[in-house]
């Protein structure tokens, strides 16, 4: 039996929104520590890893391990019916056929309830092992979104170069080239706008912008985003949430001149 309640549906909505374009069908693994999701996109270039810890919910109850096979397109359709500030409750039996979603608009005393048919998804569980990254950059998530959108106009790929001076995002395309450099700065009054760089070694890697813009759909989840890079390993983009929950994306770097 699973029962998990979120104070605002917005968190779940944004998370699903950011995942749905990468993955169509996947399992939500629920156990007593929370709800986790791990899936790779169809072209096997990116991986999504979501962890919503039990603490993020109030209350949270899950007696046994439950795998909820969800078609994310269908889930998005259902979630569209939820208001931003509604409370959201997820419920499921132990061996479930359906996922029950309840949206409550406390101000209007409006309760809507949906049942979403589940799927039986047989998929291998793949993960990226934790690594020590050479560079870890924290920056405002809105800024990251803006950079990807701006550079998308120039090219399909972006080179992220982290040095001790700062981090440089640059793109070269048919119409010209462009770059954005951010230097480390920590305004005391606005901690949300801080740019912090931890560096053990300079790195420069190239990534597909298409995927990065996709990741940025998770921007409403968090004010800050963390980019972790090391030579020849996938980039990790993490949107941290309160209480240790997170939504992480991994993206394989582009190698050589392959398209």
């Amino acid at each position: 039996m699973l029962e998990a309640r979120l104070d605002t549906a917005n968190l779940f909505k944004s998370a699903v929104d950011a995942i749905k374009d990468l993955v169509q069908d996947c399992n939500f693994d629920c156990n007593d520590s929370g709800i986790a999701l791990q899936a790779m996109d169809n072209s096997h270039v990116a991986l999504v890893s979501m962890m919503l810890k039990a603490e993020a919910f109030s209350p949270f109850r899950c007696d046994r391990n439950i795998a909820l096979g969800v078609n994310l397109t269908s889930l998005t359709k259902v979630l569209r019916a939820a208001g931003r500030d509604d409370t959201l409750t997820l419920k499921a039996e132990d061996a479930p056929d359906v996922l029950n979603l309840v949206f409550e608009a406390t101000a209007q005393d409006r309760i809507s309830e949906y049942d979403l048919k589940l799927m039986d998804i047989d998929q291998e569980h793949l993960g990226i092992p934790d690594t020590e990254y050479a560079a870890t950059i924290s920056m405002p998530s809105a800024e990251f979104k803006r950079i990807t959108t701006d550079l998308m106009a120039m090219s399909e790929s972006v080179t992220i170069e982290a040095t001790k001076d700062g981090v440089k995002f640059s793109s070269t395309g048919d119409i010209g080239n462009g770059s954005i450099t951010l230097r480390q700065h920590t305004p005391v009054d606005k901690p949300n706008e801080a740019v912090e760089i931890e560096l053990s070694e300079s790195v420069a890697l190239t990534f597909s912008l298409k995927y990065l813009t996709n990741f940025c759909k998770a921007q409403p989840l968090s004010n800050q985003v963390k980019l972790c890079l090391s030579a020849e390993v996938p980039l990790m983009v993490e949107y941290g949430l309160e209480g240790g929950s997170y939504l992480r994306f991994y993206l394989a770097p582009k190698i050589g001149d392959e398209e």
Partner: protein, 1108 residues
């Protein structure tokens, strides 16, 4: 050794161990047996040997292939029987000698002319060369001399007989202005002829016949006249060009005038011909010269419809290619040439041999000719070719591969005189040709001349006459002969060649089989008979049938008929106009599922019978002003067709086309009658070929009148024919619905639910099959009586039940007698189309079968649901998902899946990538969101090897959805039909984890609990099989996994033996990689599944709960 370093891309799995085993064991066994199998000359000994052999086989296991033991050994035995009553000796290459007592003054030279070509004799005198074979099997070349080519010009009014000489001199002088100084014009005479084009009031007009000395001048003379440069004394009043008549190539002119048909018998009477001994132009046994006046041609009927004992050589070569590159003549040697020679009429080949490079272990009943040097082998093969002197050379893809390759290779190795394959002293050269016809489309081919010998490339033949999914020899044989052969990838051939004598023997067997199969195919499809009869019926040489289009056949017939009736055929300038006329009509279908019998009424040979009934012809076409001139009476002397053209009736003149058709159709009836009475299978094949040829010829008459870029287009005939056809279909509908209604005392109102070109489908309303048949019969007779003879409406069949999907799309159960249905008939439904995957075909077929035959609609729905569920869970065999498309050109404007894949494959491995003209096989795989279809096509073998997930959604939405919808919508209604594709059964899916992709290098697989799918992350758990919660279930789960492994082992073992059976040897490793074979994919998948399952099983070894 190269084979050791080569990547074992296509030698699978357990190969390594198996291979070592075979190398050791069987060689001893075969060497022992080799002595026994050696072909011996005395029949007694051979008989003994075959006895020994069968015993030996039982003792020394079944290591011989089926092909060897069943085909070759049997051949050996049969040959000895054959020897007694046959002139051919087993494995004797030469033709039977010329009879000793042959005397040209006493014996006539009678032979079947298989080929004709233009040539010269005695220092430049034009002659026609007729190649052929006598009844004794002697080869003949007959030079026919003295025949002169000619043309006609309409004589001007003032031209009289006396002007002929003057006109001749004038033409001669005009020609010499064009730098022609030798005598060109042989004769000019005035004859009475009639123009074929348009009704002439049955009056013959004077025509000038210009005969030239040499056929090569004819075109110059013709062009000169047509340009108006020969307007003698300005007699032709109008300016510009003058129309000439009877434009036909010399060879055909000769055959028409001497009434020689292709493949027919001709006779040079005793004393009328001279044998040539000195300066022979050929290596034929008889070479003779005769004047065309003396030549006797036998009409191919009765006794003369026989066939000469033609020698048919079927061969195949093997080349040692380099890894990853298709063999190129400059680098890669020819290592084996297998030959099978059969005499027409015999069931068994009398020569079977393989020319091999390097030592090769013997094969039963087959000569192995070993050579150390490739050049010597090629030279020896050439000598063999000359000695065996085949009349017909057949093979599979010989035109585009074997012939040019041998020539190029010999040139590269500088083999002297290798290129003389023809019967004359003409070198064989491979030329690039482009064959293009409206019917067959464009095709780039190579053509190699073998003057005097016919060629039949079975590949081209099958491509021409049959629509198949794949044209590899393997799949063609599977289709027609119901047997498979192993398909050795060309990169494996080198490996086998560089092995031992045993492995080369294996290759030789493979090669021999490839040479044997075309012969079998030819027999099975009766190609030789059908084409021979076509040549005889239409009168063109055999080679024309393959190299030329439809038109020449029709023209040959037309010229023959025109000659009889003293008609001349204008040389119309062929201009390709875009003028379109209205085609056949289609009665709008009343779509739906009919659970009552639907009778089908067909017009028998609709267009030919219209042409006959309404006397449509070139000779009967008449213009308005001519009607007034001769004051003809409408409907009495002439008719107006529904689209306003006018033709005179038979009362005035019987059309030439009508006569040709009448003859063709009555000849067909005759042939069919003889066919029914005949018992000899060879004669039966000939007769069946004839009736087919007659039918095809009759039906092509209409088409050629409508071919605007043809020689003699006549749109009036074509459009009138279709107009009559349309009118008749409408009329039939009207008559049937008028008569069979409640008002006239019938139980139901009949309804015509559909009609197309020459048939109408009638719902009489009755539920009784027998009654529907009776009504159909009745209606056919009733309606027939309303039309002019010989138009006949026939009742042929009843469809019950019948599913009418759309125009030209329907399915039904086909009944001709009320007791039992004949078959399931489908038109335009995915079962026969080639541009989709096998899954669609099988599902649709099965569904139709369940609906139509079993009448089990719920069952069909269940079946569809199960299939879709299997598809989504990746349980469908990949061979069923493979789509093939021909790679016709490199740069399509729009990107296409198969073209893009071919590009990508070329980047990966240029050698195995499909080349232009190949059919590309591909599957659709999952791609990034928003990626186009053409980015997601992938090579099936790559997919198998790397476990790339299949885009099941694509198959569901783009392949299955539409055809299923079309079938189920009329039966279930739209909403219910849709639920088939979205119901609960689509909720279980499986996503494969691939071995490729940018992230896969980094990703680590986390095992999930076999019980509850929870990821096993804990340290103790991570290697194990189950999570702590499910620990008590470990026994149950272990059992389940173990069962799965053993099931898969059995499955893989079965598939492996299946392939071994197919290759015909139980001791050799399977090397087949046939992309057409479902077993191949199954075997590959089973192997992978087994590996995976073994991995799963191994997890229990580390499981805490399982250790006690």
């Amino acid at each position: 050794m190269p084979s050791a370093t080569l990547p074992q891309k296509r030698a699978f799995g357990e190969a390594s161990s198996t291979r070592r085993n075979i190398a050791a064991t069987p060689s001893t066994a075969t060497t022992k047996k080799r002595r026994i199998d050696e072909p011996t000359s005395s029949p007694a000994q051979r008989f003994k040997s075959s006895q020994n052999d069968s015993k030996g086989r039982m003792a020394s296991s079944q290591q011989k292939s089926v092909f060897e033991s069943e085909v070759l050994e049997r051949l050996n035995q049969d040959i000895s029987d054959l020897k007694q009553n046959n002139s051919e000796k087993d494995q004797a290459w030469e033709r039977p000698p010329i009879p000793n007592d042959f005397d040209p003054s006493k014996h006539s030279l009678c032979f079947q002319a298989i080929e004709a070509e233009e040539g010269t004799i005695g220092g430049g005198q034009p002659a026609v060369k007729l190649f052929g074979v006598t009844e004794n099997g002697n080869s003949v070349l007959l030079h026919v001399k003295d025949f002169k080519h000619y043309l006609y010009v309409a004589a001007p009014v003032s031209f009289v007989v006396e002007d002929c000489l003057a006109f001749k001199a004038y033409l001669e002088s005009q020609m010499s202005q064009n730098h022609q100084y030798q005598q060109v014009i042989h004769n000019v005479s005035l004859t009475m002829r009639e123009n074929i084009y348009g009704f002439q009031g049955n009056v013959q007009n004077p025509y000038i016949k210009v005969t030239v000395t040499d056929p090569k001048h004819i075109n110059k003379v013709r062009t000169m006249i047509e340009r108006g440069e020969a307007n003698w004394k300005g007699m032709w009043k109008h300016d510009g060009g003058i129309m000439t008549y009877d434009s036909i190539q010399y060879l055909l002119r000769f055959m028409v005038d001497c009434s020689i048909a292709g493949m027919s018998w001709v006779e040079a009477p005793a004393g009328a011909y001279d044998l040539i001994h000195m300066n022979k132009q050929s290596n034929c046994q008889f070479e003779a010269v005769i004047s065309y006046r003396e030549l006797i041609s036998h009409k191919p009927s009765g006794e003369w419809s026989k066939m000469a004992p033609l020698r048919i050589l079927s061969f195949d070569i093997e080349c040692a290619g380099r890894k990853g590159i298709f063999p190129e003549a400059q680098h890669d040697s020819v290592i084996q040439i297998a030959n099978i020679v059969t005499k027409y009429g015999d069931k068994k080949p009398f020569v079977r041999n393989v020319f091999c490079l390097d030592t090769t272990s013997p094969i039963v009943a087959t000569q192995i000719l070993e050579f150390k040097d490739e050049g010597k082998m090629l030279a020896a093969w050439r000598d063999f070719l000359e000695k065996v002197d085949p009349d017909i050379i057949i093979g599979y893809n010989i035109a585009n591969f074997d012939f040019p390759y041998l020539l190029d290779r010999a040139k590269h190795l500088k083999v002297h005189n290798f290129e003389y394959w023809s019967r004359t002293h003409v070198k064989s050269v491979a030329k690039e040709t482009n064959f293009s016809s409206k019917q067959m489309g464009n095709r780039d081919t190579k053509a190699t001349n073998t003057n005097g010998r016919l060629q039949l490339d079975l590949l081209q033949l099958v491509q021409r006459d049959h629509q198949l999914r794949s044209y590899t020899l393997n799949s063609v044989c599977a289709h027609f002969l119901g047997e498979q052969k192993e398909d050795v990838h060309h990169s494996m051939i080198t490996e086998l060649f560089e092995g031992t004598p045993e492995s080369r023997r294996r290759l030789a067997l493979y090669c021999l089989k490839d040479a044997y199969l075309p012969q079998r195919l030819m027999d099975k499809l009766s190609c030789l008979e059908n084409y021979t009869e076509m040549a005889r019926v239409t009168g063109v040489p055999f080679n024309f049938l393959l190299a030329r289009g439809q038109q020449v056949k029709f023209l040959s017939q037309l010229f023959r008929k025109a000659l009889e009736q003293k008609l001349v055929i204008p040389n119309m300038r062929s201009e390709s106009s875009e003028e379109q006329y209205e085609g056949a009509t289609v009665i709008e279908p009343t779509r739906g599922y009919y659970d009552v019998p639907i009778a089908t009424l067909d017009f028998a040979s609709l267009y030919p019978s219209i042409i006959q009934a309404h006397n449509l012809c070139y000779t009967t076409l008449i213009k308005k002003k001519d009607i007034e001139r001769w004051s003809l009476v409408k409907d009495e002397d002439y008719i107006v067709t529904p689209n306003g053209d006018m033709f005179v009736t038979t009362k005035k003149r019987k059309g030439l086309l009508a006569q040709i058709l009448e003859e063709l159709l009555s000849a067909r009836k005759e042939a069919k009658r003889e066919l029914a009475a005949e018992t000899d299978p060879f004669k039966k094949a000939v007769l069946n070929g004839r009736q087919l040829a007659l039918k095809i010829s009759a039906n092509s008459v209409y088409g050629l009148t409508g071919a605007t870029n043809g020689k003699l287009p006549c749109l009036e005939i074509a459009s009138s024919t279709t107009a009559f056809g349309r009118q008749m279909i409408e009329r039939t509908k009207h008559e049937v619905e008028e008569r069979y209604c409640i008002k006239n005392g019938y139980s139901h109102d009949a309804q015509v639910i559909y009609g197309d070109t020459d048939s109408v489908m009638v719902k009489f309303g009755t539920k009784e099959l027998a009654e529907a048949m009776k009504l159909g019969e009745d209606a056919a007779n009733y309606v027939s009586s309303k039309f002019i003879k010989p138009i006949k409406l026939e009742f042929e069949k009843v469809y019950f039940p019948y599913l009418l999907i759309n125009k030209k799309r329907y399915a039904g159960l086909y009944w001709t007698k009320p007791e039992k249905y004949d078959k399931m008939d489908t038109k335009g439904i995915e079962t026969v189309r080639r541009d989709n995957c096998l899954l669609v075909q099988t599902v649709i077929e099965k569904v139709l079968r369940m609906i139509l035959i079993d009448r089990d609609v719920p069952g069909a729905q269940e079946y569809v649901k199960d299939t879709i569920a299997d598809l989504l869970q990746n349980r469908v065999d990949m061979s069923k998902l493979v789509i093939t498309k021909a790679l016709t050109k490199d740069d399509y404007a729009a990107k296409q899946a198969h073209v893009e894949l071919a590009h990508r494959m070329k980047k990966r491995d240029a050698g195995s990538a499909p080349a232009l003209g190949d059919r590309v096989a591909y599957v659709m795989v999952k791609g990034a969101t928003g990626s186009k279809n053409f980015e997601r096509s992938e090579d099936p073998i790559y997919v198998l090897e790397h476990n790339v997930p299949i885009d099941t959604k694509y198959y569901l939405d783009n392949q299955l959805a539409k055809p299923l919808g079309r079938i189920f919508e009329p039966i279930l209604g739209e909403t219910k039909a849709k639920s088939l594709l979205t119901g609960d059964h689509t909720r279980a899916i499986s996503v494969a984890a691939p071995k490729v992709g940018g992230l896969m290098k980094f990703a680590k697989k986390t095992q999930t609990c076999m019980g509850c799918k929870k990821p096993l992350t804990g340290k103790e758990e991570s290697q194990g099989a189950v999570c702590a919660d499910d620990a008590p279930r470990v026994g149950e789960l272990y059992k389940k996994t173990l069962d799965k492994v053993s099931d898969l082992e059995v499955r893989f073992g079965r598939l492996w033996t299946q392939c071994q059976r197919c290759q015909g040897s139980m001791h050799c490793e399977v090397i087949c990689s046939s992309k057409d074979c479902p077993i191949f994919y199954m075997r590959m998948k089973a192997k992978k599944d087994l590996e995976d399952a073994n991995g799963e099983l191994a997890r229990f070894d580390f499981d805490q709960a399982a250790i006690w």
